[in-house]
């Protein structure tokens, strides 16, 4: 870790004059840009408190003609201090995870082929899943319906003739590059997605199958419908999804409706109403999230949120500071 940080600081010092926060730096004139992000989190729930260095990540990317690549490595929960009542435990996870590692080939203006490990292109949240870029510190429960990472191939067809239209096919038929850093340990995934964007509207439909090794039901199917209206001052978004196995409905529904209002570009208020019914964990809940984000500059997010649950013991306060550099 020290070597990675040392290299980044060295590059930063070499390019200090050109550097702008949130844009990364170019290494010489090479097709290589370096950047990264971190997130410091605080959670307070019933009689439980947790402080953590949630994410510390380095990323490198570049492009050459029709090829481009992305490599991202991350420490997750590098340090966490958890207090339940009077008992405090400290954990240090120093394993470096491979978050993303892929190569893209732009065949022409319509077709792009990707190979490697990537964020599964499902829904809205999973495309920009890191704390500094997402609206709230917490993720909606719709994120639990599908594997957040795929190790395999992805074929995209896109058209921008009048409006934006995209079809996406995901395929995994092998082990995950980093199974410890995924919400499901999968060795198969076949997924599809379709996106249509016109003016400020966006709708998206995803569905697929995946095979897991770490759940009671190994063969699972997911569906997710997403819709968003986004203008300068505010954004309204909603997602609703479902998960089934061959034997039963594992999650009959998980969904949310979210409103985001930009008082100014630096001050953002968020209200989200969520509901889910998870049969595998035998848990269902409906809750509201009230959040406020202060961005002194866009790549810096200072966020607080409070969650009001129908399961009262789940009520919680979250606070985080995250930076993309």
């Amino acid at each position: 870790m020290h070597k990675l940080l040392g290299m980044f600081i060295l590059f930063l010092s070499l390019h200090a004059q050109d550097y702008e926060l949130g844009n990364g730096i170019q290494v010489g004139s090479l097709p290589l840009y370096l950047g990264g992000y971190f997130s410091l989190n605080y959670e307070n729930k019933a009689n439980e408190k947790k402080y953590s260095i949630d994410d510390l990540s380095m990323l490198g990317y570049g492009s050459y003609e029709k090829f481009s690549y992305m490599a991202e490595f991350e420490f997750h929960d590098l340090y966490s201090q958890n207090s339940v009542g009077d008992k405090t435990t400290i954990k240090r996870d120093t394993e470096l995870h491979t978050e993303r590692l892929y190569l893209d080939y732009e065949y022409n203006e319509h077709y792009t082929f990707r190979a490697g490990r990537y964020n599964s292109s499902i829904g809205f949240w999973n495309l920009l899943p890191i704390n500094v870029l997402r609206p709230t510190t917490s993720d909606p429960k719709t994120q639990d319906l599908f594997p957040n990472f795929t190790t395999g191939a992805d074929l995209t067809y896109a058209s921008y003739d009048d409006n934006e239209f995209k079809i996406d096919l995901m395929l995994q038929n092998n082990e995950d590059i980093d199974p410890a850093y995924n919400n499901y340990n999968i060795n198969k995934l076949y997924g599809f997605g379709g996106v249509y964007e016109k003016d400020n509207y966006s709708i998206k439909l995803n569905g697929g199958y995946f095979h897991t090794k770490n759940t009671l039901d190994n063969d699972l199917y997911y569906f997710l419908f997403s819709a968003k209206y986004d203008v300068d001052d505010y954004e309204i978004s909603s997602e609703i999804g479902r998960q089934e196995s061959k034997k039963r409905v594992t999650t009959p529904y998980a969904g949310y409706l979210q409103g985001l209002y930009r008082f100014t570009p630096k001050h953002v208020g968020i209200v989200r109403l969520e509901s889910y019914d998870d049969k595998l964990q035998n848990k269902s809940d409906t809750f509201g999230v009230l959040g406020y984000t202060y961005r002194p500059a866009y790549p810096i997010a200072i966020k607080s949120e409070y969650q009001f649950h129908t399961l009262n013991k789940e009520n919680q306060f979250l606070f985080s500071i995250s930076v993309l550099f």
Binding site: G62, N108, E109, L133, D162
Partner: protein, 133 residues
């Protein structure tokens, strides 16, 4: 009164500046939606060439007009967009300081695309889209 109004309207029209999104003659016709996708780095390859969007300097008023008219995004939303794109592995378009530099670049590099005032247009360039104040 009507005459005064007509003179006022004519003078307003006459004083409006015209601008053009341009490329070299090898570039295929593009819709405003495709031009927007190129400048937001969603569309990477066009006409089998690597698409190279070129901006004018950040403080150039023509750039502001282009961003409002074609990209339909405020300065703050564009900054947010490029921060997100950094995470996704995409860089913002390169910037050149003058319209003459933009023209010179476009003449040499297939797939490049920029914007200038119509007054600076010449026959060696192709107009992809035209708008006025």
């Amino acid at each position: 009164m009507k005459l005064l109004l007509a003179i006022f309207l004519l003078s307003t029209i006459a004083s409006g500046h015209e601008y053009a999104v341009i490329a070299n003659k090898h570039m295929t016709d593009l819709s405003p939606s495709q031009i927007k996708a190129i400048f937001l780095k969603k569309l990477i390859v066009i006409n089998d060439f690597q698409a190279v969007p070129i901006n004018l300097d950040a403080r150039d008023p023509i750039r502001t007009k282009f961003e409002q008219r074609i990209l339909e995004m405020s300065f703050d939303r564009l900054q947010a967009h490029w921060t997100k794109e950094h995470y996704l592995g995409h860089r913002p378009p390169i910037s050149l300081k003058s319209q003459e530099s933009v023209k010179a670049f476009i003449k040499k590099v297939d797939g490049s695309i920029g914007y200038i005032e119509m007054d600076n247009m010449d026959d060696s360039l192709k107009i992809l889209y035209k708008w006025s104040d």
